[in-house]
């Protein structure tokens, strides 16, 4: 549903005249940009990726309503338009509206023709930080796991029902909001379901989370690729480590085959027709998933293991759909899932006190750069007295 508040993403608009905005699109763009206050000071970046810098900001009318502004870096390859990943992100996020998917508040462009995406502010870290935190600093139970898994699967089922493949589901891209809601983010590789006959690239999805059909070079795949990635993320959340780590694509074959066995025509009809099937010439391996999972995935319980095994079926046609997973009795079974507000948090993320400390640290970092004036401001910092 198109929101009227969103501006048309018009970076190719006519160049601004010397006396301010000239045409309508420019005026709309400026009015959208004026709705946000963005903190572009050097020490205040929220993060920086390969193709974008993320700043913090807030609504001009409501300073408590925080946003994250993702400013797309100029890409030399796409100087005449929008980089495809930014375009995908704008396209799909403006169509999707779900509590477990990151919200795109607005899009605008600046005078230097860079595009900015105003996204939801999600201060709670991400799922990878969650399972990478040592056990003594962050403990979570089967109930917590179930709550997280449910939120993730709701997001995945929703995008699939909307005809969209995410194609980059991994712990890094599952962010945590201040109220502990998981939010699926980074739709830079997403695309709509392809029509039959249309080739899709198999070089998508971060390697650890790449399903076997993509490893074997399938050009026609479906929603099952996201389900595999989701399954891997869930296993990682259980074992608190990477599940199928590999340094190269070839090594990834071996890791997957080592765990799930070498696929054959019986176990996966038609697999030999996939382009890279012969690439693995090693003697066939036996699946050790059952034994491994029984020993390592005790957090899941019997029903949970059934669900995750379904999500990690090697044959994509036997793999469960996200919807089927959601309809499984596991979610209603004991242990009951933890209420959202009681979920454990990544240490150092979220919480009023922590935010206050972060703010202070930022001020210190800046004090080095800007000299005496900032130190005065730091002395007048009453933030620490509030609690």
């Amino acid at each position: 549903m198109l929101q009227s508040t969103r501006s048309p993403a018009s970076t190719t608009a006519s160049s601004p005249g010397p006396d301010g905005p000239t045409d309508l699109s420019q005026q709309i763009n400026d009015s959208v940009r004026h709705r946000f206050v963005i903190d572009t000071r050097p020490g205040h970046k929220l993060g920086e990726g390969t193709y974008a810098i993320v700043f913090s900001g807030h609504y001009r009318t409501d300073p408590t309503h925080l946003v994250a502004v993702k400013r797309i870096k100029k890409n030399a390859d796409y100087h005449d338009g929008i980089a495809p990943d930014a375009f995908r992100e704008i396209q799909f996020l403006s169509e999707l509206s779900h509590p477990n998917i990151i919200t795109l508040h607005a899009v605008f462009s600046t005078k230097s023709q860079t595009l900015s995406l105003v996204l939801e502010h999600l201060p709670g870290g991400d799922l990878e930080q969650l399972f990478q935190t040592p056990r003594d600093q962050l403990a979570y139970s089967a109930s917590d796991f179930k709550a997280w898994a449910l939120m993730l699967l709701r997001a995945v089922a929703f995008i699939h029902a909307s005809g969209i493949l995410h194609r980059d589901i991994k712990g890094n891209n599952i962010l945590i909001a201040a109220d502990n809601t998981l939010k699926l983010a980074d739709f830079g590789l997403a695309r709509a379901f392809a029509e039959p006959g249309r080739n899709m690239t198999h070089q998508v999805i971060t390697r650890f989370y790449r399903p076997p059909e993509l490893l074997y070079g399938a050009m026609h795949y479906g929603a099952a690729v996201d389900v595999w990635s989701t399954g891997v993320v869930l296993v990682e959340l259980c074992i608190r480590d990477f599940f199928l780590p590999a340094n190269t694509d070839v090594e990834q074959f071996h890791v997957v085959e080592h765990m799930f066995g070498t696929p054959t025509e019986e176990s996966w009809p038609g697999v030999s027709s996939l382009p890279f099937y012969n690439l693995s010439s090693a003697p066939p391996k036996q699946a050790q998933w059952r034994a491994w999972a029984g020993a390592r995935l005790q957090m899941l319980g019997g029903d949970g293991l059934e669900v995750v095994s379904g999500m990690l079926a090697v044959d994509p046609r036997r793999r469960w759909s996200a919807e089927r997973v959601l309809r499984h009795a596991y979610w209603g079974n004991e242990p009951q899932m933890t209420r959202k507000e009681l979920l454990p948090r990544v240490p150092g993320k979220g919480g009023k006190k922590k935010v206050g400390e972060d703010l202070k640290r930022g001020a210190e970092g800046e004090g080095e750069g800007e000299g005496r004036v900032e130190k005065v401001a730091r002395k007048l910092d009453f933030g620490s007295m509030r609690n």
Binding site: A161, G163, A218, H220, G270
Partner: protein, 353 residues
């Protein structure tokens, strides 16, 4: 020899003289009342408070000696006596003149030096546990104050041993009634409350001295209401005016796997397969099937796209937005959904192919 020892003990026991000996205590408690304050404790204080009244061993000879009391009669005795007398089950209190039956697990160290305070705190704790209403439970402040008065009266009846039999019975009835009520309203909360609290006084002052299976039966009888109370089930012990009716908990929500975000098509039903010429080749193509390309997903997607926008009336949405002062897009969406629901009746499209 023992005389000398006791004299030494007396010398060291000056500080403990206040807490009173064991044997005069029961009479002391009996006299405890607001109307006629008890005589000065010094007159009744037993100088030999560091000597166990049962085995007469003194702290001088055994510095690690620990005195225990039983909230049944508050007679003090040393730990080894408790072990010796009560380790094989309930036994009568060894203090002369006290016929109460004591049980081993109930013995504990006293918290307060003054055993009268100790007893009062115990009683208050027990009464407060039964009468756990708060002001919000009552219609008016007057009713709440009346209730508090009844509670205080009951407490003092127990402390001053006035009408103990009746008060105990009414209190027990009230507890049972509360429990039953809670069970009906909120089983989880009831479980929490019903957990036995070791600090609570035993409400049965007449325990039959038997062992083994019968003993277990006695123990369980403490929890189940007496048969004769069963007869007067309608009597709740206490009746308070102005109590609000207990609210039944909201019915448990049915788990919705999609949290209301499931997408169910209004206008079409996707079939397993569609026989269209240009699709047949792809259906049989191995590269498509082995790669996990979902033809069903494709059908779904195509049907969804072809019907997308049906039942959405932009004009109405704009109208609704302009009427609504806030310009909330949710209102427009809502009307659109209603329009879609209404529109769905006119259109009969089960299968377009």
């Amino acid at each position: 020899m023992s005389k000398a020892a006791s004299r030494v003990a007396n010398g060291g026991a000056k500080g403990h003289a206040q807490d009173g000996g064991a044997s005069p205590l029961s009479s002391n408690l009996r006299r405890l009342s607001l109307a006629n304050p008890p005589p000065k404790p010094s007159a009744f204080a037993d100088p030999s408070s560091d000597i166990c009244p049962v085995c007469k061993s003194s702290r001088y000879l055994n510095p690690n000696m620990v005195f225990l009391v039983n909230p049944e009669c508050y007679h003090k005795m040393c730990e080894s006596c408790v072990e010796r007398i009560f380790s094989h089950g309930p036994a009568p209190c060894p203090i002369a003149g006290c016929k109460r039956t004591l049980r081993r697990p109930k013995f504990r160290r006293q918290t307060f030096e003054d055993l009268k305070v100790e007893r009062e705190v115990d009683i208050r704790r027990r009464v407060a546990k039964a009468f756990n209403k708060v002001e919000q439970d009552f219609e008016t402040l007057r009713d709440f104050n009346d209730y508090l008065e009844v509670v205080e009266e009951t407490t003092w009846n127990l402390i001053l041993k006035i009408d103990v039999e009746t008060t105990e019975r009414r209190l027990r009835q009230f507890e049972e009634a509360q429990k039953a009520e809670l069970n009906a309203v909120n089983p989880a909360a009831a479980r929490r409350v019903n957990e036995p609290d070791p600090t609570v006084l035993s409400s049965t002052s007449h325990v039959v001295l038997k062992k083994g299976a019968t003993q277990r039966k006695v123990a369980s009888a403490v929890n189940t209401p007496d048969p004769f109370i069963e007869d007067t089930k309608t009597d709740n012990g206490f009746i308070f005016r102005g109590l609000k009716k207990p609210k039944p908990p909201p019915p448990k929500k049915v788990f919705d796997p999609f949290e209301g975000y499931g997408i169910t098509p209004d206008y079409y039903v996707t079939q397993e397969s569609y026989d269209v010429d240009w699709l047949t080749w792809f259906k049989d193509d191995k590269a498509h099937s082995a790669g996990g390309f979902g033809m069903k997903d494709f059908y779904d997607h195509m049907l969804c796209e072809s019907f997308a926008g049906l039942g959405v009336f932009v004009g109405e949405e704009i109208e609704a937005r302009e009427n609504g002062a806030s310009g909330d897009s949710a209102i427009g969406t809502q009307t659109a959904a209603m329009a879609a629901a209404g529109g769905a009746k006119d259109v009969d499209m089960d299968d377009v192919f």
